[in-house]
Symmetry: C2
Subunit: 439 residues, 2 copies
Amino acid sequence: MKPVNIGLLGLGTVGQGVANILIRNANEIKRRTGRDIRVTRAAVRNQEKAEALNLGIDITTDSQSLVTDPDIDIICEAMGGDEPALTLLHTALDNNKHIITANKALIAVHGNSLIDKARDHGVSVAFESSVAGGIPIIKALREGLAANKIEWLAGIINGTGNFILSEMAEKGRSFEDVLAEAQALGYAEADPTFDVEGIDAAHKLTIMASVAFGIPLSFNGVYTEGISKISREDVEFAAELGYCIKHLGVARRREDGVELRVHPTLIPEKRLLANVNGVMNAVVVQGDAVGPTLYYGPGAGSEPTGSSLVADIIDVVRGIDANMLHRVPTLGFQPDSIEPLNILKAADYQAAFYLRLQALDKPGVMATVTGIFGELGISIEAILQKEPDEAAIDPAMCTVPIILLTGSVKEGLIDQAIERVQALETVVEPVTRIRVETL
Amino acid sequence: MKPVNIGLLGLGTVGQGVANILIRNANEIKRRTGRDIRVTRAAVRNQEKAEALNLGIDITTDSQSLVTDPDIDIICEAMGGDEPALTLLHTALDNNKHIITANKALIAVHGNSLIDKARDHGVSVAFESSVAGGIPIIKALREGLAANKIEWLAGIINGTGNFILSEMAEKGRSFEDVLAEAQALGYAEADPTFDVEGIDAAHKLTIMASVAFGIPLSFNGVYTEGISKISREDVEFAAELGYCIKHLGVARRREDGVELRVHPTLIPEKRLLANVNGVMNAVVVQGDAVGPTLYYGPGAGSEPTGSSLVADIIDVVRGIDANMLHRVPTLGFQPDSIEPLNILKAADYQAAFYLRLQALDKPGVMATVTGIFGELGISIEAILQKEPDEAAIDPAMCTVPIILLTGSVKEGLIDQAIERVQALETVVEPVTRIRVETL
């Protein structure tokens, strides 16, 4: 089948993410779609800089020529801002091209007209990457939870704001102090208004609410309150009461309408959302049938955002030759691309281990045990030795638990070590062995 | 367009969930698909009991007649077990019907042959509900993360086992003690082997691994270790070391093959997975582009599982009339079903509030403040009053912070209360007001 040609508007952080993923994972993506997908042309402002990236893409500064190019099937917009992005996307639709964008402000404010035009032309508008970076939340709302009447959703959908609040909570720092650091780290813009005053979150909330409730994109209806007035004391007092402060976007359906609101919020500290820290994003969705589900992941960045944008490309490509079986193959890969892989035996796994031995409380036991691990080249990360039971009748036969955390090791090797430890006369019960994963 | 007719094999917990959702959310689902979808017939063992449910469904004990019924478009299998489910699904495929199943054992062990036959007949096999209940994890793996080479995934995918481990950790109880309670509560079967020995988790892991890596369903390759040998002491020692013990299913791609394993695992207590408690499920997926994403929700139950099964029905229906725009409408609802809803003003929101006032440290201040809330009918859930600063120069002018947590109240009302409190001479700084959400 002929390759699908992508035209990329913009080759900055997100555009490069898209190009890199399509190049690196070309084989995996062909296994999933049955088609070759390649970025053939990119329109940029600085031709020299873009050509220096050496991506094998035809570079132009004439963005108009891209959106009218008859050889291009799908236009991906990764330039940001209002104009010329909006006009270019309209022109692409007029030329019957599918459009995919990461531009949340554009969709939240101008999406309705783009969607209408796309419908007239029989093409797609896709915007998974415009909300919550790499988290496939639009797909979850439109498809995964399609059986539900969505009652509400609440999300941490601005990484910069969450980084600031997390640092304030963890380190007792002030808003101004952390903001300055976030700007130095490149998490926050020189003008941080969009992030800290909740405008960026309001754009994303607008899009999620529309997809959750089936309402037109309604950015002007969002109530927005920022985090710049949250003080260090409030963060501390909230903690004393058992809460974390998070900047949430909330959309709630009521009998008499919908609430669309972005504001600082106290959340009970035990909730998963309260434990979403740093630049990560998460969204909780309450459906009437499923109850609560949560989606968590990186909210920004080159390849996380690129992951969602390329997922949209794959969706469109799977739809282009739409017979149902071809769209999404049952196992996610094309039937003739399903390949058996060598399924490894447990002895070949690599893991760190928690080991608990019950040993006689005699001198030299610990040295013998750790000696065995040393000989086998297994490192010990932590040792916990408990006091013997004082009430033991015969102190000489008194046993104590010894807990070891090992470094990462082949399972075959840990089994050898256990066998040798178990054989010691001073070790009196079977050794308990549990794997450790830092995930 | 003509309605889509569903035939339901089994009308137990899951089958009733499917029927109830399709009836209750008929309108919402039609807005999403453009089609009426109804369960027309159900095959059961006990006709009388099923008819007593009064679901308006034609009930039969002749399951064979269901899977050959020319009026039925899609067969949903919610009976469980091996046979007759497998033979019935094969017959349904032979009759060119799409099949959807919640039966993880069936897919993990016999899925390859069902998928091959479905392909020959040009129909779908769908099984979102077979893994992690209401969490749309199959969709995330097959579509949302399709840009990625999946590196590994790790999940808490058995609610019974997680309930037992959570109770052991939170309350210091023994495995046997909690298992007995879980059986009494109906979370665990009389024979709990499938749950606590990891066989159920191995079925689900088999399915996720296949979809993540594009490999044939390989249940026999899964290494499985149960949780029945985890002792109360291990849970406590792990906690002392900063870890939780969870029963994980892990699939990891390596240069030389894949690891497929289910076993108890220590996880650092700060990780979100370590905080997934009770009967909830969660899966972390590591993609090469997106990094880590996490999916959390109820792992079982009538409507959570029904939610996923109905999502599969909607997917199939959207595919039946597969032109791309019709498949998944851009906003998730059919264009002529997009309805504006009244977008509420902030004064109409209902929330609990955290309020911080800075007040002079004089007798009677607290009584006056709480009096205002009482008059407006606003309940106070918690009060935190800090000691005055001892070093203050003029004790009469010394101020103290007072923190109030209110009950749920209309925002308009809280604003009235704040206005009156703010007007007090003893309240010296603007009142800080932050919303509380228990989610």
